[in-house]
């Protein structure tokens, strides 16, 4: 792509594709960055932002596609070669070395030398002048660990720009900064933009996107949704780009449903004024038997945190939980399981499956936990359970002895569902149940959700796929800034309604 002046774009990626173990993480993604531009890269978890960044900065190798830097094709093999080409990165967590001084961090791997020895005086002087440009007057011989995260962030940026100078990639740079520190960071970024540096910023704070960015590129499920100039993109449109609403057809006929939820029988599980400081603001949640409650919101809005509270992974510091009129204390996952709750977490690979155990062992895990370790499940009973669920959920390959890590994502998810179904839960919490799953398994899992609640089980489904929520949920709770901001049901339950609630334009428009 050429810019108006006929110059090449600073960094351009065309048709980038990348798969992990056969599961596509990026598919035909284009990305263009101009010099002197701050470009926000947005998308939900698993949208492919990190994968794209890691390909551009040499951490991963792409399967398909081409990358051009100032019109020349490049192929960075590792971080060092990307840095040498001019692409510097500041990662969110792993960043710089706390055991070294500020100056040592700034010049690690490229120390100026005299007679083969590191020239510490030059390093010190150059560090000082380098940081002065960013408005930092600090002791460069002090250990990095003696400075706050905000200052470390600036030091990391100073290193990356000094090292590479053309493209600066920032992964969630403001995640652990307060408002004042964010302001300081943005001043630095604007200065760099003036100097002609191209900046890519990944963040989930939309306010900050509108404050600092010139353009946005939105990814969803590993695909490019679009690239827009921020000044011409209303917030509502941006959110619908991120959450998607191309599929307007709604499988559940909400129009025909009773207008008031009270018609659906008495709630069996009630959470009142339930919350935890710094996690989720206190909320009320009533769940009736056979009901599917959806939870919607952007990344970082408190979706998963709500699930953690409901399942006792985080302890609530306010409010009460009541089951069938009796107050219960859900202070740990064990207590939640004893009350017949189940939870399928978002990170299936790290928090869900035990990869080296067989499908049968994985399915038996929660039942075993419920029974207590003193009463082992006999191996014949385990085989029976596994075989019946492999059949009823159509888990493939139908081999209960196979280590679960060799199954596809969709089949792993089914096995985890089976794990909770054997415990006959009254409430099952599903966090992103269809993430990273192919289309076929996706539909099957949605069908399974409907079947489960027709049998009287209650479900809480967290999802960033709005069509999915409107399709399966009877009611949807909308979160924003770790607060329950709206509850939609009946004819108000549409993707548009959810997007408006997230954007804060209120139910007045939705009604």
């Amino acid at each position: 792509m050429k810019t108006l002046s006929g110059q090449h774009a600073l960094l351009e990626a065309r048709g980038i594709g990348k798969s992990f173990f056969g599961i596509p993480a990026l598919d035909e993604v284009d990305f263009t960055l101009q010099g002197g531009e701050i470009h926000a890269l947005l998308g939900e978890n698993g949208a492919g932002k990190s994968t794209l960044i890691k390909i551009l900065t040499g951490v991963y190798r792409r399967d398909r596609g081409t990358i051009y830097l100032e019109g020349n094709e490049i192929s960075p093999d590792d971080v060092a070669s990307a840095q040498a080409l001019g692409i510097g990165t500041v990662y969110q967590e792993v960043n710089l070395l706390e055991n070294l001084t500020v100056a040592e961090n700034l010049f690690l791997g490229r120390q100026p030398r005299r007679f083969g020895m590191i020239d510490r005086r030059t390093i010190r002087d150059r560090s000082k002048t380098l940081l002065e440009r960013y408005g930092l007057d600090i002791d460069v011989d002090a250990l990095l660990s003696s400075f706050s995260v905000a200052i470390r962030q600036i030091i990391a940026i100073a290193r990356a720009v000094d090292l590479s100078g053309k493209v600066l990639v920032l992964d969630e740079p403001t995640a652990s900064l307060d408002a004042h520190e964010v302001k300081g960071l943005f001043t630095v970024l604007r200065q760099l933009r003036e100097d002609g540096v191209g900046i890519v910023i990944i963040t989930h704070f939309l306010d900050q996107v509108y404050e600092i960015a010139d353009r946005v590129t939105v990814l969803r499920n590993g695909r490019l949704v679009g690239s827009r100039t921020i000044s011409e993109l209303p917030r509502l449109d941006l959110i619908s780009m991120m959450l998607g609403r191309e599929l307007q057809h709604i499988t559940r006929d909400h129009q025909a449903e009773p207008e008031t939820i009270d018609d659906r029988g008495a709630p069996s599980i009630q959470f009142q004024n339930y919350g935890k400081k710094g996690s989720v603001a206190p909320f009320d949640l009533d769940i009736r038997p056979g009901e599917v409650v959806g939870i919607a919101g952007l990344l970082g809005s408190g979706r998963s945190e709500t699930a953690f509270l409901l399942f006792g992974i985080d302890r609530a510091d306010s409010g009460t939980a009541t089951i069938d009129g009796e107050q219960v204390a859900i202070t740990s996952p064990e207590a939640a399981i004893a009350n017949r709750f189940g939870f399928c977490p978002e990170e299936r690979k790290t928090d869900g499956i035990v990869g080296d155990l067989s499908v049968a062992d994985n399915i038996a895990l929660a039942l075993q936990a419920q029974r207590g370790w003193m009463r082992p499940i006999s191996s014949s009973h385990k085989r029976e359970l596994a075989d019946s669920f492999i059949k009823s959920l159509d888990i493939r390959p139908a081999d209960r002895e196979r280590p679960i890590k060799f199954l596809s994502g969709g089949n792993q998810q089914k096995a985890i569902l089976a794990r909770w179904l054997v415990t006959e839960p009254r409430l099952l919490i599903l966090d992103e149940p269809t993430r990273g799953i192919d289309i076929g398994a996706h539909a099957e899992i949605l069908k399974m959700i409907e079947k489960l609640c027709s049998q009287g089980m209650s479900l809480v489904v967290i999802s960033s796929e709005l069509e999915e929520l409107t399709a399966v949920a009877h009611r949807v709770i909308v979160l924003s800034d770790r607060r329950h901001v709206a509850e939609l049901s009946g004819r108000h339950l549409t993707t548009d309604g959810i997007i408006r609630a997230i954007a804060g334009t209120g139910e007045t428009e939705a009604a």
Binding site: V59, V79, A80, Q83, T89, Y91, V94, N95, L96, L97, E98, N99, L100, E104, L108, G109, Q111, R113, G116, M117, I118, R120, A142, L143, S145, S146, S148, R159, D178
Partner: protein, 328 residues
């Protein structure tokens, strides 16, 4: 200003000075150059091995093969000279090449097969010890005029003490080690890897090459320590120097190096070696104490230093937290 990270080193130095002062008060003779010269010579092989161990521990690793490599080298050199009549210099060179390659191999396994250093060097420890038995199970004495010349070379201190060639080799190794650690890119990379290997990699540090070089260096210095040990005892014996790697680790930790890596000084290890030597010398002077007291005192010192390091980390974390609260 003293960095918090150098506090353990300063503490060790202070403890050494005070301990030496107390010893001299009781036995004024301990101040003589003769005692100092012997202390350096007696601990020369341990000091050389400890320099290599310091680099390994700074990078967050461990090398358990040191004692076995020293034993192998000493037997190998003794048999080469005694039984095959090879010139000592040729034997030394061959021993150094073997021990360095051995270290290289362990480093490559640690890096590319992603096996923890503890496991790889444990295997190396058994392998080198077994190889030593294979060469000879007997104590092999060596007599060679070139070696006599070497042992006869020393610098005389005023007061009758001698700085032997062996002690000189150790001092040179420490001096070079200090420069390499603090003034070369290799040294900086060692600290970086020990601090956080993922960060180091993302900052462009060549982690693979550096890891291999670290274990090669430790192998080389173990070989050199083996040669010095052979000269010191004028013999090679495959059962010798069992557990010397643990003495080296003790010297490194007492010298203020963090066992988790990333923080420490080669000079600290030198003080650690001197402190161990001082305790042994005191026991000899006292004459009534069992030599096991050396182990007991070293054990107590190790405990004290581990607690001290924890306290410093805890204290500096807390200070940072307080400062950040104030900023808000």
């Amino acid at each position: 200003m003293i960095h918090a990270r150098n506090l353990p080193f300063v503490t060790t130095l202070a403890i050494f000075v005070i301990a030496y002062g107390l010893c001299v008060l009781q036995f004024p003779n301990m101040l003589s150059t003769r005692v100092i010269g012997n202390l350096l010579t007696d601990n020369a092989f341990l000091g050389i091995a400890a320099v290599g161990m310091t680099f390994v521990i700074l990078s967050g690793g461990i090398d358990l093969s040191v004692g076995s490599v020293i034993a192998f080298t000493s037997v190998f050199v003794a048999v080469m000279i005694g039984s095959f009549g090879v010139h000592p210099l040729t034997a030394f060179l061959a021993a150094l090449v073997i021990s360095t390659l051995f270290g290289c191999l362990m480093g490559a396994m640690i890096r590319y097969l992603l096996i923890p250093p503890f496991v790889v060097t444990l295997a190396g420890m058994f392998l080198a010890r077994g190889a030593a038995y294979l060469v000879s199970t007997q104590s092999v004495p060596i007599t060679h005029e070139f070696i006599d010349t070497m042992l006869g070379f020393y610098i005389r201190f005023p007061g009758g003490g001698r700085l032997t060639l062996l002690a000189m080799v150790m001092l040179i190794v420490f001096a070079v080690g200090i420069i390499v650690a603090s003034r070369t890119r290799f040294g900086a990379n060692v600290y970086a890897i020990g601090g956080n290997i993922q960060s180091a990699e993302l900052m462009g540090v060549p982690v693979g090459a550096t890891t291999i070089r670290i274990y090669a260096l430790s192998g080389f210095l173990s070989g050199l320590a083996g040669i010095v040990y052979t000269l010191y005892t004028s013999s090679g014996y495959s059962l010798a120097t069992v557990g010397v790697e643990l003495d080296a680790i003790a010297a490194v930790v007492i010298g203020g190096t963090l066992l988790t890596g990333g923080v420490g000084l080669i000079a600290g290890t030198f003080i650690g070696i001197l402190l161990q030597g001082l305790i042994q010398t005191y026991i000899v002077f006292d004459g009534t104490l069992s030599s096991w007291w050396t182990k007991i005192v070293i054990g107590i010192l190790l405990f004290v230093f581990i607690v001290l390091q924890r306290t410093i980390i805890w204290y500096s974390d807390r200070r940072l937290a307080v400062r950040q609260l104030k900023e808000v």
